[in-house]
Point group: C2
Chain length 517, copies 2
C-alpha cells in the first residue's frame, strides 16, 4: 500500500469520504489511489475556491469534515478566500495540499513556494507529512484537529514521494476531543445576571443556532426579559415555521447599536461581542453600549447546546412552552421585479427542508423576512466576508444532502469569483437552484463608499459598476451546461423559480433587479 492509499483509507475510516479537488502533477498518486478505495468520492472543481468553499458547505450540513486536494502553494492561494470564510465559520475541513517530493524541494522548481506561510493564514494546525509509514497517522491527527473543538481548517501537506512510496499504514481514527462542559457554577452565575432584572441581551451564534438550542435560548429570554439576538452571519441557522424565530444583529453598525441600546449585560453563547465589519471615520468599531458587561456562557469550544439547556433548567424555563414561528408565506408577487418582490417570491416558494446558501448581499436584504414563516429550512451565511462563497457552499451543501433542495441566493458581483461552481453542480447532478440577483453593480460598495465618507467622482463610480459590458448569466450558465432563464418581472420570476425548484439537478434563474442602493 502506498502513502496515498493509506491516507485515503484512513480518511474513510475517520468518516471523511468526500474530497473536493483540483489536483496537479504532484497529486497524481492521490488521484490514482481513488480507484483503490471505493468509499472515497472525489469531486472535481475547475477552480480551488470552489473546492474549499464546497468543503465548508459540506461540513456545515453534514457536521463532519470533507477533504480538499489542492496543488501546492498557488492552489492553496486560489482556495484561500473560502478557507478564510470556513475559518470564521469554524467549519472542520481536512485541507490537503500536495507538494513536491521531499528531495525535489531543494531545486526551487517552477511551482516551489513556501506553502506554510500561506496555510498559516487559515490553519492553526499544519502537518507536513514526512514519512510514508506515518501519513496515515498524520491524516488521523489532521481529522481530529479539524474537529477541534472548535471546528477548524486543518492542513496536511503531502509531498509527492510520501504519497507514491510503498509502506503506507492505515491509522486508527482518534476520538474527537469533547466540547467543554459548562459547570453548574458558571451556569448559575449567568442565571443570576439574567435574574437581576437589568437589561440584558442573550447573543447566540455558531453551534448555538440549531433549532433545539434556539428554543432553549428563547425560553431563557422569555423567563428573564432578556432580548434574544443572533450573530449577523451565522454559519448555519435552523429556522422556518414551527421553529423559534430570532433576529440577527444588523450588518450596519448604526442599526446594530440600536439593537443593543441600553443593554447592561451581554451574554454570549458561541458568539463574539458585536463589532463593526469595517471601520468608518468617526464611527464606533465596538458596538456594545458603554458600561455593558460581557459574560460568556459558552465559547466556541464548548457544548453550547448543553449550556443553554442547563441555563434554561436553572431558570425553570421550558423550551416546549415557547412561541414558535407561525407558518406564513408571502403572496406570490406581481409587477416589477425588485429585491423585495424577488425575496417575496422566494418566501412563497421555498420548499420544505431547503438549504439556502445566502450571498444575496444588498438584493437579499428582504430574504430573511420573506422566508421567516416558510417550511423548516437551513440558512447558511457569508461568515468571513470574502465574497465568492455562496455558490461553492451550495455545491458542498448539496453534496452532503442529496435529498434536499439547495437554493443559492447569489448576487452578480459575488457570483463571478467562483462561477465555476456551476460546472461541478452539473457534473455531480446536484439539486441546486441558483438565483442570480443581477443589479449590475457592486451595490454594497456604492453604499459603503458613502458610509466611509468618500467623495466619489465618475472614475470611482466606474470601479463599482458592473455594466460595460452587462453580464449575461443565462449565457454563462449555458456555457457550463446548466438550464437557465432570465426574469425581468415578478410574474416571470415566480414561474421560473417554481420551475427551477422542481427541476432535478442544477438550474439558474437570473433576476434582473434594480439596485436598492
Amino acid at each position: 500500500m502506498n502513502g496515498a492509499q493509506a491516507l485515503i483509507r484512513t480518511l474513510v475510516a475517520c468518516g471523511v469520504d468526500t474530497c473536493f479537488m483540483n489536483p496537479g502533477t504532484s497529486e497524481m498518486h492521490f488521484v490514482a489511489a481513488l480507484d483503490t478505495v471505493p468509499e472515497m468520492h472525489g469531486v472535481l472543481a475547475l477552480f480551488e475556491g470552489v473546492a474549499t468553499g464546497a468543503a465548508d458547505g459540506y461540513a456545515r450540513m453534514a457536521d463532519r469534515p470533507a477533504a480538499t486536494l489542492l496543488h501546492l502553494g498557488p492552489g492553496l492561494g486560489n482556495g484561500l478566500a473560502n478557507l478564510h470564510n470556513a475559518r470564521k465559520a469554524q467549519t472542520p475541513i481536512v485541507n490537503i495540499v500536495g507538494d513536491h517530493a521531499t528531495y525535489h524541494k531543494q531545486y526551487d522548481a517552477q511551482l516551489e513556494s513556501d506553502i506554510e506561510t500561506v496555510a498559516r493564514n487559515v490553519s492553526r494546525f499544519i502537518r507536513w507529512s514526512a514519512k510514508t509509514d506515518e501519513v496515515g497517522s498524520d491524516a488521523a491527527d489532521t481529522v481530529a484537529a479539524a474537529y477541534g473543538p472548535p471546528g477548524q481548517v486543518a492542513t496536511l501537506v503531502l509531498p509527492a514521494d510520501i504519497s507514491w512510496s510503498e509502506g503506507g499504514e492505515v491509522a486508527t481514527p482518534k476520538a474527537p476531543a469533547p466540547r467543554g462542559a459548562i459547570g453548574d457554577d458558571a451556569v448559575r452565575a449567568i442565571a443570576n445576571v439574567l435574574r437581576s432584572g437589568e437589561p440584558a441581551v442573550l447573543l447566540v451564534g455558531g453551534t448555538a443556532c440549531r433549532a433545539e438550542s434556539l428554543a432553549h435560548a428563547r425560553a431563557i429570554a422569555d423567563a428573564t426579559g432578556a432580548k434574544l439576538l443572533c450573530e449577523t452571519f451565522p454559519t448555519r441557522i435552523e429556522r422556518g415555521a414551527g421553529r423559534v424565530a430570532v433576529d440577527r444583529i444588523a450588518y450596519l453598525a448604526e442599526y446594530a447599536t440600536m439593537q443593543l441600546e441600553g443593554a447592561k449585560h451581554l451574554v454570549l453563547v458561541d458568539a463574539k461581542a458585536p463589532v463593526s465589519f469595517f471601520a468608518y471615520p468617526d464611527k464606533a468599531s465596538w458596538l456594545s453600549p458603554a458600561g455593558c458587561e460581557i459574560h460568556t456562557l459558552a465559547g466556541p469550544a464548548d457544548d453550547s447546546a448543553f449550556a443553554l439547556a442547563a441555563l434554561a433548567s436553572d431558570l425553570g424555563a421550558t423550551a416546549a412552552a415557547v412561541s414558535r414561528q407561525d407558518a406564513a408565506r408571502p403572496e406570490l408577487p406581481s409587477g416589477d421585479l425588485t429585491a423585495q418582490t424577488l425575496c417575496a417570491s422566494l418566501g412563497a416558494l421555498l420548499p420544505e427542508g431547503a438549504v439556502v446558501s445566502d450571498e444575496g448581499n444588498t438584493s437579499g436584504l428582504f430574504a430573511a423576512g420573506a422566508t421567516a414563516g416558510a417550511p423548516p429550512h437551513d440558512w447558511l451565511c457569508l461568515t468571513g466576508g470574502a465574497i465568492g462563497q455562496g455558490l461553492p457552499v451550495a455545491v458542498g451543501a448539496a453534496a452532503a444532502c442529496r435529498d434536499r433542495r439547495v437554493v443559492a441566493l447569489e448576487s452578480d458581483g459575488s457570483a463571478m469569483y467562483t462561477l465555476q461552481s456551476w460546472w461541478t453542480m452539473r457534473r455531480e447532478g446536484l439539486d441546486v437552484t441558483t438565483i442570480i440577483c443581477n443589479n449590475r453593480s457592486y451595490a454594497v460598495l456604492n453604499m459603503e463608499l458613502n458610509r466611509v465618507g468618500a467623495e466619489a467622482g465618475p472614475k470611482a463610480r466606474e470601479m463599482l459598476d458592473l455594466h460595460h459590458p452587462d453580464l449575461d448569466f443565462v449565457a454563462l450558465a449555458h456555457g457550463m451546461g446548466l438550464p437557465a432563464t432570465r426574469a425581468t418581472t415578478a410574474e416571470e420570476f415566480n414561474d421560473q423559480l417554481a420551475r427551477a425548484l422542481a427541476t432535478p439537478g442544477p438550474s439558474v434563474v437570473e433576476a434582473v433587479v434594480p439596485s436598492i442602493v
Copy 2:
C-alpha cells in the same frame, strides 16, 4: 490631501499609472482618490487573479510596474497564484493590499486575517503603511523595491485610516538601483571557458531574451561552438523573422537531458540550471550531466545585456553577422482541426508586432515551431506553473501595448481559473484574440499520470476529464459580452482566426481539438 491621494500621486510620479483592482470597503478612499489624479488609470477586474496576472503581463511588456489593489487577506489569496507566476517571472509589481483601519484590527472583525503570512509567499518586500504622512514615501520605497533588480512583487499594506486621514505627502521617486555590471575579469573567465573547446551550453533566460541580447548570445555561440539554449518558460522572448532563433529547454525532463547531453560547461545568463518541473519516481530532478560545471555570467540582478555584449566583444564575436530567422509561414492548413493544424494556422496568420500570451499547454506544443518565421513578435510564457495565467497576462499586455494585437493561446482547463479576464478585456476595449484549445481534458495531467507511474482507473481518469458537461466557450464569451465563434475544422479555424485578428477589441475563437495525449 489624504493618504490615498498622496499614495496615488506618488505612484504616478514614479511612473506607475495603471492600477488593476478589485477593491472592497477598506479600499474605498483609494478608489475615490482616482478622480483627483487624472493620470492614474484604474482597471476593474471581477476577480483578483485577473488583476495580479494583468499587472504581470503589463510589466512584462511596459518594462515598468503596474499597481494592483486587493481587498485584505482573502483578496490577496485570490491573487496569489498569478503573483507566484510573477515572482518566478521576476516581474516588478506594486502590490497594494488594503487592510482594516489600524485601530480596528484589535477587534478581529469578519475580514481580519494575517495578511503578512500570505504576502510572504510572493513578496520579499512587505511594507505596512503606519502613518498617513509617510504613505507617499512608503509608496516610493515600494516602487523602488519592485524594480529590484531583479524585478519582484513588492507589497504595500494600506490600512483604511492611513488612506482616509488628511496629511498625506507626495514623495519624490527614488532612482531604481542599477543592475550589476559584470567586471572584465568575470567576462574573461567565461570567455576562457568557452574558448577551451570543451562542450558547452550557453543558457539564456529572464532579461537576456530580448532580441539584442539573443543576437549577442548567438554570436558567442557561433564563435565558440557552444550550444545556445533558452530557458523553458521565459518571461518574455523577442522572436520571429529577422531575429535570432533559439531553442528552448524542453518541458519534459527526458528531452531536456538530451539537449544538455555531453555538456562539460553550462554558462548561465539570467537563467537557472535546469531542473525537472516535478519529481518522478526513479527519474533525475537535476538535469545537467554529471560533472558539468556551472558558470554564471549574469545573475537575475545583473545587467545581462551588457554582460553578453562584453562577452561577445571579448570573443571578437559580432552580433551583426549572425544568421537570423528567415521569414517563413506555414501554409494555411486544411482538413481536421488538431493541435498541429491549429498552430499552423496561427503561424500563417500571426500579425506583425503581436504579443502572444502562451498557455496553450499540450495543444500549444507546435505553436513555437509554427510561428518561428512569423513577423517579429513577443512571446510570454507560463513562468510559475500556476495555470490561469494566460488570459490575465493578455489583459495586462494589451493594456500596456494599446497599438499591438495580443493573442491569448489558451487551453480549456487553464482558461477556467481566470475566465473573468474576458470581461475586463471587453470593458477596456483591449485588442486581445483568445484562442481556446478545447480538448475537454486536463491533458497535461493525463500525460503526467503516466509519467509518475500511477496506475489510473476510471475514477482517477474522471478527475482529469473535462467532459460531463462539455464547456461551451462561445456561450461563456457571450456571457461576458465578447464576440465568439467555434471552429471544428482547419478551414473554419483559419477563417475565424483571421476575422478575430482583424476585429478591434477582444474576441474569442474556440477550437475543438483532440487531445494530443
